[in-house]
């Protein structure tokens, strides 16, 4: 099984080192005193070394022969269970990605959590999470995969509830735990079915080298492969199980609700776990077991992904909590990835996963800085405000210039504006979605259309966020004019990660050609063999269409949220200042271009007010309805189910307890009576 290449051993030991270092750090931190500042550096050093090792592994394996080593783990009966490491493009990409994202987050956290009472605990958990996530991506056995899957869930559980004194954190914790358990049950049943069918837990045998799963066929209601046949319904159950797991971990409809609540954890945690890595585990799982899904099942995936993307985007439009908006945008982007998987854009999905990890992490860290500063203002002036509410913010670009710049980079990437990484990956998905819908029924054409529409919505809410936070006036100052502001971008622990991530959110990391996603090296290595070349119209129309409209939408957002109270452009207006500071001397330019643009702006604004706003309100109302519907079903169906279960357990338990009345003779009587009844039945029958 293992390759005979001479450097195999080195690679594997590097991999093990990369995975184990965070674990070691976690153990060391566990032993350190609770407030020890050493913990941060231990974890950071571990992840830094891990990052180096991952990079070496990546360089050795990427686009080369996959590496697979395994050793006998234990035997059940006659079945041997192996444990090992499987490195292929997918896993080394994730390996590098996770450690690369984790590094800035660690650095950031050393400053962000500085004043926390349980500083070393935080790093214990954080390192433990990194260990679980890294383990998850390299293991080769479904059993180990499941174990790490649980560990990832567990460590995220610890981190969400890190501030367990907050009641909301505990609630969020519980919710995440329950939702993830549902997913775990699905994954477990899928693993059991696969084992029952193919008699192995080995991912390589199942999906890659022998690809047993792909070779099995469904025929006449039977699921047939070399190892025998079982009813086809098990294949569906396995797919549903996998999907449940994916939906729970990657927050897809209908198991998405835990993610926004999970924002109760520290922001740095949100950045790492709930934006960049853990939620990607679901997509990664899909990538691992991709051959399991049949065409029609993939279509279902696409539909659900599309719906999730759309739904989350509409919700994000109306949120006022900074992290919540980002959380919904995460859900929306994950929806894109699932959609991409569903339409067969395997490579694009993983590509988007990688790019999204960087810019979303960036945005969360930005949010962390902003919230941190707002908190600072709040405490300094003893105000009663929610530091996460964007209604209180505004005009922060002057106070936090660096944060502002990187935020803009991150947002543009999220929207998918050219020159950013997001453009490369997201447009790839859209294009392939359109290609996929060619020749399919009209209903399925709604999927790419929905995705397209969602990308405009994305543009809108992201711009709204940026505008509300960074542009205009500082609304808090308006409300409490007497407060003093002592805020800044923060120390180097803040600045370095932000800059690092911002650079990674631009195109050069992924492709030298900023416009054609097919040229991205990451994509080229991951794309399926029969990938359609650049031959049809979509490849040109979609990027252009998306981006032009996006720009309008961004402007619309800007117009609405900065200028909502006046029809004339105030002096602080973006275009106004733009023209005054840069184009002021050029009167012709101003008259010929700026005026029409301003005119257009006015028209747009009118259009906004009357059409888009109406639309937005409609959407808002719809999303509110969806939200209340979800809440209702939570309350009555899910809770009702839980209550029913509890009542059932209680009644059975009470029945069993009824015998326990403390009287020993009663016990004897019951025992003898049962034996007697058994025999009377036996003799009579």
């Amino acid at each position: 099984m293992s390759s005979l290449l001479p450097y195999t051993d080195t690679i594997i030991s590097y991999t093990i080192a990369a995975v184990a270092l965070p674990l070691v750090a976690s153990l060391i931190n566990f032993c350190l005193p609770v407030k020890s500042k050493l913990a941060g550096w231990v974890s950071t050093l571990a992840i830094l070394l891990g990052c180096v090792f991952s990079a070496m592994v990546f360089a050795a394996v990427w686009d080369q022969q996959p590496q697979h080593v395994q050793t006998m783990w234990f035997t059940i009966g006659t079945t041997k269970i192996f444990a090992g490491i499987l490195l292929n493009n997918l896993s080394v990409m994730m390996l590098l990605l996770v450690s690369l994202i984790a590094l800035p987050v660690h650095i950031y956290s050393t400053a962000y959590m500085k004043y926390d009472d349980r500083y070393s605990r935080y790093f214990t958990y954080l390192s433990f999470f990194c260990f679980s996530m890294l383990g998850l991506v390299v293991v080769d056995s479904l059993v180990l995969f499941y174990a790490f899957w649980e560990l990832v869930g567990f460590s995220s559980y610890l981190l969400i509830g890190f501030w367990f004194t907050k009641d909301k954190a505990v609630q969020a914790n519980k919710k995440a735990f329950i939702m993830n358990r549902i997913g775990d049950i699905g994954l477990l049943s899928a693993i059991i079915i696969l084992f029952a069918k193919f008699h192995t837990f080995d991912i390589a045998t199942l999906f890659i080298s022998d690809n047993l799963v792909f070779k099995s066929v469904i025929h006449d209601g039977l699921w047939i492969s070399a190892s025998g046949q079982i009813p086809a319904v098990w294949q569906y159950v396995a797919c549903i199980g996998v999907f449940m797991a994916v939906a729970a971990k990657s927050a897809q409809f209908p198991l998405h609700t835990w993610l926004p609540d999970a924002m109760e954890g520290p922001t740095s945690v949100s950045a790492l776990i709930h934006a960049a890595t853990m939620v990607a585990a679901g997509v990664f799982l899909l990538g691992r077991v991709y051959p399991l899904f049949t065409d029609s099942e993939l279509t279902v995936l696409a539909v659900i992904g599309c719906f999730t993307a759309f739904m989350a985007a509409t919700i994000a439009l109306t949120q006022n909590d900074l992290k919540r908006v980002l959380a919904y945008s995460t859900i929306s982007q994950l929806g894109y990835m699932i959609l991409a998987m569903g339409v067969g854009a395997y490579g694009s999905s993983l590509f988007h996963l990688a790019t999204h990890a960087f810019f979303k992490c960036l945005l969360f860290l930005v949010a962390g800085v902003v919230i941190h500063e707002m908190q600072h203002i709040k405490e300094e002036n003893d105000l009663d405000i929610d530091p996460q509410n964007i209604q209180y913010m505004g005009g922060l670009r002057k106070k936090l210039p660096l944060t502002f710049i990187v935020a803009v980079v991150g947002s543009l990437a999220l929207i998918g504006i050219p020159l950013t990484s997001g453009y490369l990956s997201k447009d790839g998905i859209l294009i392939q979605a359109f290609e996929w819908s060619e020749g399919r029924s009209a209903w399925l054409k709604l999927i790419p259309a929905g995705a397209l529409f969602t990308s405009w919505l994305t543009a809108f809410y992201v711009s709204r966020l940026i505008v509300k936070v960074f542009f205009g006036e500082f609304r808090l100052l308006k409300k409490y004019p007497e407060i003093k502001l002592h805020i800044s971008d923060g120390g180097w622990q803040y600045r370095v990660p932000l800059i690092l991530l911002a650079v990674c959110s631009l195109f050069p990391l992924f492709s030298l050609n900023p416009f054609f996603y097919e040229k991205a090296w990451l994509f080229e290595s991951l794309k399926p063999a029969e990938f359609m070349a650049r031959e049809n119209i979509y490849h040109t129309i979609i990027p252009i269409g998306v981006n032009i409209l996006s720009v309008f939408v961004i402007y619309a957002a800007y117009a609405i949220y900065v200028k909502q109270n006046t029809f004339s452009f105030p002096q602080t207006g973006f275009f106004y200042r733009l023209s005054y500071n840069q184009w002021y001397l050029d009167k012709i330019y101003r008259k010929a271009i700026v005026k029409p643009i301003l005119g257009l702006g006015k028209t747009c604004f009118w259009f906004d007010r009357n059409v888009i706003d109406g639309l937005i309100h409609l959407i808002e109302r719809t999303s509110r309805m969806v939200a209340s519907l979800t809440a209702w079903s939570d309350k009555h169906i899910v809770d009702g189910f839980l209550h029913l279960m509890a009542a059932l357990v209680q009644s059975i338990g009470n029945f069993a307890r009824k015998f326990q009345n403390g009287k020993v003779q009663y016990y004897l009587y019951s025992m003898l009576l049962i034996v007697l009844v058994l025999f009377i039945l036996k003799i009579l029958i």
Partner: protein
């Protein structure tokens, strides 16, 4: 006399030939006497000495057990005129029993309540050594006489241990219930044995098995069910489980730890030994014991786990959960094959280890904050983080969640049952598996209750008790470490089974 004269020398040769295969038990007997004499000579001040003697002696016995591994390489040995059988699984059961007993003997003095017993606890060591001898016999018995004797020996010792703290009402009450229930069960069992003897003319199991098909099946079933009651009393499966919660709750905590683990393992070993009695050919007209045991297993799992959900006393909850575990282990028995046997051994060992850990922690919390109820555990998690984390690990293992050894234990049982199911396609095995999975989920409810109270519920009083039971804490840490370690490397034990 004259009839037997020709056989005497052969019989004596047999007895002498058996002695090498009986060394651990002989050591135990000597140990029993030594502990007894130490107790008598030094009186009440002898607790430490008795403990040291008993523990070192037990280590010697353990050493002798390990030597027996070499003896069984050439096959099974029937010793003492078909009274006992020494075979592979027996030796492993004995090793497990002695290892766990060693921990339990250490544990006796660490519980403040038991240690504070005014009459001293040196007698407890005498009794428990005799009980361990009984457990050994139980694991090896293949003759109705040795079966009955071994069960009685363990039972009498258990009655004494439960009622040991005679100054407390609950302990004596538990003792009364236990002794009445136990004596009644053993009387019923003896009646069954007398019928079996009557139907077959022998007390040797193999001879009985040969004779039974000639007798009316319903009569035989009746006798066998009565025998099963006696074994079931030790195993505490439905409907012989009623005594368990009361007794476990009333007994001193280390005794509960003892009762809920080693006698259970020995009783399963015994059940495995007498299994040939319950296996009949396909055209058997009496009760199908495979089905009966499956049904018992299902009901036991349900009764134990569901009733545990509603408990608030920690020991009582663990009592119910141990009933549930018995049902689960029965699942491995009804497979009637080798794989089932090894998975049973493994499962029982890990269950027992975790249960000892859980009860040690119950002892710990009872020592330092006098907490018996789950309610009293509120907010202790942050004050005693090490103990609480261990508790969580141990409970996770008892539930059977991955990375801990409890998961692998359950997995082995499931896979053994599943492979049996693939051969027989018996609906009962399927039902057992489904119930097992279902009740595992249910068990999550009550096992998680403890971490819930430890960590998530707040408490008002903030004082931290200064006096701490470090011994128990160390024990719990070692056990939880083992649970995780073995969970990651299950093969380290399993390859021997």
């Amino acid at each position: 006399m004259h009839d037997l004269l020709p056989h005497i020398s052969a019989q004596l040769t047999n007895v002498f030939g058996s002695i090498p295969y009986f060394m651990p038990e002989i050591y135990l007997t000597v140990l029993f006497l030594v502990v007894l004499i130490t107790d008598l000579i030094f009186g009440r001040r002898s607790v430490r000495l008795c403990k040291i003697v008993a523990c070192t002696g037990l280590l010697l016995v353990l050493f002798k057990d390990l030597q027996q591994v070499a003896l069984i390489l050439d096959g099974d040995h029937v010793i003492f005129g078909s009274m006992l059988l020494l075979r592979r699984s027996t030796v492993f059961f004995k090793i497990i029993i002695d290892l766990l007993s060693f921990i339990l003997l250490l544990n006796f003095t660490w519980d403040d309540k038991l240690k504070g017993h005014p009459k001293g606890i040196s007698d407890l060591y005498t009794i428990s050594i005799a009980s361990i001898l009984g457990l050994h016999l139980m694991a090896m018995a293949i003759n109705l006489l040795s079966v009955y004797l071994a069960i009685e020996m363990v039972s009498v010792a258990s009655y004494l241990m439960v009622a040991y703290r005679s100054e407390t009402a609950l302990s004596t009450e538990a003792g009364l219930k236990y002794v009445l229930f136990g004596a009644a069960s053993s009387a019923v069992m003896l009646y069954g044995i007398s019928l079996l003897y009557g139907f077959s003319g022998s007390i040797d199991l193999l001879a009985i098995v040969q004779q039974l098909p000639n007798v009316n099946p319903v009569s035989v079933s009746f006798a066998l069910v009565l025998v099963l009651i006696g074994i079931g009393f030790k195993l505490s499966f439905m409907p012989m489980h009623f005594w368990v919660p009361d007794v476990y709750q009333g007994a001193p905590t280390p005794v509960t730890a003892y009762l809920s683990t080693v006698p259970k393992i020995a009783a399963f070993a015994l059940l495995v030994n007498v299994m040939p009695l319950f296996l009949f050919s396909a055209d058997w007209k009496g009760i199908d014991f495979g089905i009966l045991l499956s049904a018992i297993g299902i009901i036991t799992m349900i009764a134990g786990n569901f009733a545990a959900v509603l408990q608030s006393n920690v020991k009582r909850m663990l009592a119910y959960s141990s009933i549930g575990h018995t049902g689960f282990a029965l699942m491995a028995v009804v497979t009637f094959n080798v794989q089932g046997l090894s998975s049973l051994t493994y499962y029982l060992a890990v269950y027992a280890l975790a249960n000892i850990g859980a009860l040690a922690l119950a002892s710990y919390f009872s020592n330092i904050v006098d907490a018996e109820d789950v309610e009293n555990y509120k907010g202790l998690g942050l004050k005693y983080p090490a103990a609480s984390v261990c508790f969580v690990i141990i409970l996770i293992s008892l539930t059977g969640i991955p990375v801990t050894v409890g998961f692998t234990g359950k997995l082995f049982v499931f896979s053994a049952v599943y492979s049996a199911y693939e051969q027989t396609h018996s609906i009962w095995l399927m039902a057992l598996m489904i119930t097992g999975a279902l009740t595992t989920v249910v068990s999550l409810f009550y096992y998680l209750k403890i971490p819930l109270y430890l960590f998530l519920k707040r408490t008002e009083n903030a004082e931290v008790a200064s006096e701490r039971s470090y011994n128990l804490l160390v024990l719990a840490i070692v056990i939880s470490f083992l649970l995780v370690l073995l969970g990651i490397f299950p093969n380290s034990i399993l390859k021997y089974l």
